[in-house]
């Protein structure tokens, strides 16, 4: 048992932190110690955490920069909201329908991740980043021209306008172009969000510590060497990328089932959202899953707590992002840090080492 704990210490600490935070917030909510504004933030917050940890799987573990993560979130949000709208009153109870919705978001976003990843992952670095950005924008744009309606004859699809669906008089528009989906059942709760965070964390952390996770990191560190020991590069890149996309889809499910009206805009599913998630990942530490959780929480809540700051929020993100990159990665800054650490007493060195 002791051995089991020491081997999984990091995972258990991360899960413990999340569970602890959940309990504290739940108590505060029960006590009425939390403003309604703050309460309204809880579900999106959970979605952001899942987005950040899932993007870290691509950026930190696979080592590829994806700028289209919000696109996968968009897929998960729309497919699941569409499903829930179709099956309200058909699948009971509600929680079961929501479980199905989550699976649908997971599977469809993962499938898109797979289909997009197949061509894209052959590219390198900058090209890969710009192409994922392109795919994210394409998904968002397509969602804005997609019309789906239902009548007694079944489903109708158009990419022109609602009229060309040719619905009967009693037909119902399910997805209305730029107006998106309205009337999705509000199934998302803070507890559901918490459970999904825990599941996402378990999936990612256990994946990293498996032979497949090691293969992914080997590819990140040295593709040619990975091939030389028989690692199928394409396969494991695709696996990690699809898994990352699928979990972004789950975040989308959470996000969409918290809104009465779901629209694909630049702010929620566009490039801006992808960048914001990337900021969470970078500030939390590339490759550090726990860091992603913490930075997503702090960066979402802090500007809301300090209202006066919200005007400067994005500006501060930008400055911190640049400063973090320079401090963490510039060879001169690294050498400077190494000199400082070399002067520290042994105990402090050990503490720093363990943190890494």
């Amino acid at each position: 048992m002791k051995n089991y704990f020491s081997k999984n210490k990091d995972t258990l600490i991360t899960l413990g932190i999340v569970a602890f935070a959940y309990v504290i917030i739940e108590i505060m909510v029960k006590q009425g110690a939390i403003s309604s504004l703050f309460k309204g933030l809880l579900v999106p917050l959970c979605a952001y955490v899942i987005l950040a940890v899932s993007l870290n799987l691509t950026v930190g573990i696979l080592g590829e920069l994806s700028l289209g993560h919000a696109g996968f979130m968009c897929i998960g949000a729309f497919t699941s909201a569409f499903f829930s709208k179709l099956t309200v009153g058909v699948i009971n109870p509600d929680w079961l329908r929501f479980v199905f919705a989550i699976l649908i978001g997971f599977v469809f976003a993962g499938l898109f991740g797979f289909l997009i990843g197949m061509p894209v992952l052959r590219l390198k670095g900058d090209y890969l980043a710009i192409v994922t950005l392109a795919f994210g924008e394409i998904i968002k744009n397509l969602m804005n021209v997609l019309y789906v309606g239902r009548d007694s004859k079944g489903l109708h699809v158009s990419i022109k306008d609602a009229v060309s669906l040719g619905l009967e008089d009693d037909g119902q528009i399910l997805i209305n172009g730029a107006q998106g989906i309205t009337g999705t059942p509000k199934d998302s709760t803070f507890t559901a969000g918490f459970i999904l965070i825990m599941i996402s964390l378990i999936i990612i952390l256990n994946f990293i510590k498996s032979r497949e996770g090691r293969a992914v990191m080997a590819i990140r560190d040295n593709v040619i060497a990975a091939e030389s020991v028989g690692i199928n590069v394409t396969r494991y890149k695709l696996l990690a990328f699809s898994l990352s996309a699928a979990l972004a889809g789950v975040a989308g499910v959470l996000y969409s089932h918290n809104l009465n009206s779901l629209m694909a805009t630049t702010k929620n599913f566009g490039y801006n959202m992808s960048i914001m998630i990337l900021v969470f990942v970078v500030l939390g530490g590339i490759g550090s899953i726990r860091g992603s959780v913490i930075s997503a929480v702090i960066l979402t809540l802090l500007p809301e707590l300090l209202r006066g700051l919200s005007t400067y929020r994005m500006l501060i993100y930008a400055i911190v992002l640049i400063a973090m990159m320079l401090f963490n990665w510039a060879p001169s800054a690294r050498a400077f840090r190494a000199r400082i650490i070399a002067k520290l007493p042994f105990g402090a060195k050990k503490a720093l080492n363990e943190e890494v």
């Binding site: 080592g63 700028l67 500006l315 990159m325 990665w329």
Partner: protein, 293 residues
Amino acid sequence: MAFLSYLINGISLGAVYAIIALGYTMVYGIAKMLNFAHGDVIMVGCYTVFSVVSMMHLPVWLGILLSIVVCTVLGVTIEAVAYRPLRQASSSLTVLITAIGVSYLLQNLALLIFGANTKAFTSVVPIKAVKIGDKLTITGETIVTVLACIIIMIVLTLFVNRTKAGRAMLAVSEDKGAAQLMGINVNRTISLTFAIGSALAAVAGVLLCSAYPSLTPYTGSMPGIKAFVAAVFGGIGSIPGAFIGGIILGIIENLSKAYISSQLADAIVFMVLIIVLMVKPTGILGKKIQEKV
């Protein structure tokens, strides 16, 4: 006739993309980095002209001149402060993420200073539109943009091939280490590249806003990304490639807007990028590179 006018508008937009793409392609070719903030430098150039001409009521030529100066200084500063320290970093992701940070920084600074409201930009082009027949009109902006684009391309080609500084750029783009051994000052060459690229961004910005006169902090971001698409399309690092890529992309975008769907035009442009990268990742005029084992 309608087709012809869409085509001409496409060429005009494409010429703007081409000027931006020239800056992109030079920076990418020489510093080997995707300068994500390039599009936002354009936006800064536009706000400079707007401040000088529309707010301070100073002459247009002064506005353009100041815009070029501001962008050049900005470009060189960004490179020196944010990118240069990361040039030797192990992963190319780091400098790309930093560039995204710079892009974010410029947008949000503009947002704080000028607000989110759209500013109406007054065209700086003094030439009247030319009418051909009854239906076809070529605006003064189109004429100036296309002419500017061609002149810039020719001057740039001559500069790179005929001057010492230009050949130093070629050398650095081929092999930084070897260039250094040959006595070329790599840092100064890269600075110069950023200066030229950013000055071009200022020109592109003025032309863009003259043709599409609404200015927001996000004005530069999409054209910037599309210009990168154009640069990739034409072949990264190639000056005529950026020109051809820009023009083709502008035409594709405008024709899709006219004949397919205005909402899907961006999606179609991005599809072009994806197809190019899948089929011929080096672009129309690009070179092939192989990793050494």
